[in-house]
Symmetry: C2
């Protein structure tokens, strides 16, 4: 029987350092909540001096086997990041019957199935609350609190960089490039911001959320991804005029008819939608369940301490399981194999901005191109621009991706259409 | 070793009926999540025909002992409501080593300590996610996900009736009495709405939240309560003009200096605060922790299915504990005895509306009455009203309740002050 819970920490960078501080500073509270002391005893780190600065009592090693093979260690926290060698470390730790906590979304999105199987085989916990939306409790609510629901949909603002950028474009009326430079200067965007602005980071998190919500394994290849690179201030201003805001949403839906769809793309949301008011680096996840209805979880999606909060919440949970001899209590919940909806069948309203010739009959030609695909128009805004051209914005009612593409192909062939400037999906479903 | 989890249900009214439906309709999902079937076998109800209509397979009894003494039953769900006889039933069930799930906030707020001790003694689970804010997962996030945090504050919109009424007053510009009648007609307010509009319902829920957040037993007597009965449309319109909305907030704060304060009162919140956009019957709980920073949980705070979602989430959790032989894994978390802040020491900005004589020097007299109590003024709005009078609205910077009362006493004695119309606290702390 344990008298205290001992932890090995892999990686003492930004979040790892935060975890060291939290477990030290809040040790008394955590001991009371768990029922026995919980402490890190060994850290894998390249720079021992950084670890010693945070907590001089910690042993530091540069050999991961010193931690994985230490029979005293109950929990291993992986905060190295990236795939290699973190994935092998996690697999070895689980095989050595260590409970594992990670914040590594890349590994979960790619190797989740294999690692959960290993955890189950070895009857240990494998937890990852910090991998999605930093400090926001969402994994445990999905796996426990909402466990009596069939989840219908999840919509999330789960990338802080892009949310900061979109909020700034809207509030300060600045264009994409300018706000990107500002975000980089503030450290909100990396020097290579591709994974954030291209939607890949959000897609990785969505893969994890959707797999849990729908109890079926979703992979990155299943996700339709569109980033915010091509969004212009002009679109954001039209959105404002029409009562919408533009967010990079990660959307997972389970439709009885068409199966599961997972996608990340810029989305227009009605201003009154709770997600529409989530600004700056805040993240939020909006869930619809068949029983609970709508629920939203909001908080800081990244950062040293919020992420450490989620990691240490997992520590408390695993530690309670160790105390009560019930590790492996909840493991992989992907016990189904559900049908995926093809992108062509995904349906939503759509915003289309066109540059057209400024002459009579143009609107009729465009409306009939949509009409031929059974697409009705909800809003039309027409504004004269430079000589001879006008800008035409339409918001359609529900249209399938297939019909939309057909309509756009027809439009681009019309002599009156100079250019299709932008196409942005709309989510109209609001609180009911 | 169990082969299935058997439940006894006490009460088959609105929420009880919902629980019967959820456990029947989502039985396959729940079985997969738990690892074995979970079903109700016996129901305590006065009208067997109502139960049979929902699920003809259920046995119905009018004698609670048939359930409490049934050795086959693992979990008892109490959904009778009120104190008597529900409290005795819960105590007897725990003493008989049954795991208990309840949605009964009155009993938790009043007898929590005694019942948690009983649960601990008998090594069984006692869960109550549904008792606060219906379908919104908040108890489990506080006890687990945020378990590495010291919670600094909780602010909640946790009464749907009053939130509906305040939203309507603001959006439709109607007065309190009119909107109350409308809420009663829609079934959002009871025919005797005292507990809702007087703040008592919110206070009971706050007692539960604050006890968990601060790990110390808070009782109803500790809560300073002010309802919305005296709120006028005029105050709500001034709030709008000054950039605020008015909400009935339940606020619990832990200040290192002054101790714990718990209060329910109408509060002005900046329009940009995430809680300010929570309208109609929606509830939301805004938490600040020392590590996670700000987080918010939003959803339906009442209603048959949202409440049943929370009850059945508890069912899944208890059932997993039974399967893994670890009931009693998390019990009472009130292991401290913290100091309570007296109401006089509570500090916040404040909105005051006065009717004053419309003549020179009035503002100076009023400002100096505040100044004598070291209260600075942040905003002043003065409007002429009926002959000889004008309406003066001030928003102060932070002021303690003590200084505020002293200032108000001075003001009411001034010959230029005709009437102090309203005093409403302001929460200025916003997302940082």
């Amino acid at each position: 029987m344990n008298k205290e819970i001992k932890i090995g920490l892999l990686g003492a960078g930004n979040v790892g350092g935060g975890v060291i501080l939290v477990l030290k500073n809040n040790a008394i509270e955590i001991e009371k909540r768990v029922g026995m002391p919980v402490r890190i005893i060994k850290v894998l780190a390249r720079h021992p001096e950084n670890v010693k600065e945070l907590d001089p009592s910690l042993a530091v090693t540069d050999n991961v086997d010193d931690i994985i093979n230490d029979p005293e260690i109950d929990i291993i926290i992986e905060l190295i990041g990236r795939e290699d060698p973190a994935k092998d470390y996690i697999a070895s730790a689980l095989a050595a019957k260590k409970n594992v906590i990670t914040a590594n979304k890349d590994i979960l999105a790619k190797y989740g199935k294999e690692l959960f199987a290993l955890a189950e085989e070895n009857n240990v916990d494998f937890m990852f609350e910090a991998a999605v939306a930093g400090g926001i409790p969402i994994i445990r609510p999905l796996k426990s609190c909402l466990a009596a629901n069939r989840i219908n949909s999840i919509m999330g603002i789960i990338n802080g960089t892009t949310n900061y950028m979109l909020s700034k474009m809207a509030s300060d009326h600045v264009d994409f490039q300018e706000v990107l430079q500002e975000a980089q200067a503030l450290g909100y965007a990396e020097s290579d911001p591709t994974a954030d602005i291209g939607g890949l980071d959000a897609a990785r998190k969505l893969v994890i959320l959707a797999s849990i919500a729908f109890n079926t394994r979703i992979t990155l290849d299943d996700v339709y991804i569109e980033g915010i690179e091509n969004l212009t201030l002009r679109d954001i201003e039209y959105a404002e005029e029409l009562g919408y805001v533009v967010k990079l949403l990660a959307i997972a839906k389970n439709s009885a008819e068409n199966g599961i769809s997972v996608r990340v793309h810029p989305t227009m949301l009605p201003k009154v939608h709770p997600l529409a008011t989530v600004n700056d680096v805040y993240n939020a996840i909006y869930v619809n369940g068949d029983i609970v209805g709508d629920a939203m979880f909001l908080g800081r999606g990244a950062g040293r301490l919020p992420t450490a909060s989620a990691v240490c919440g997992d520590v408390v949970d695993v530690a309670r399981n160790i105390v009560h001899n019930c590790t492996g209590r909840i493991n992989c919940t992907c016990y189904e194999d559900k049908h995926l909806c093809s992108i062509e069948n995904i349906t939503s309203p759509c915003f289309v901005r066109l540059l057209v010739l400024d002459k009579p009959g143009v609107l009729a030609a465009i409306a009939s191109a949509f009409g031929a695909q059974n697409v009705s128009l909800k809003n039309v805004v027409q504004k004269s621009t430079v000589e001879g051209f006008s800008e035409l914005v339409v918001v359609t009612y529900d249209v399938s991706e297939y019909n939309l593409r057909m309509a756009l192909a027809t439009l681009s062939g019309l002599p009156v259409v100079e250019k299709i400037c932008s196409v942005i999906r709309v989510e109209d479903a609001s609180l009911e």
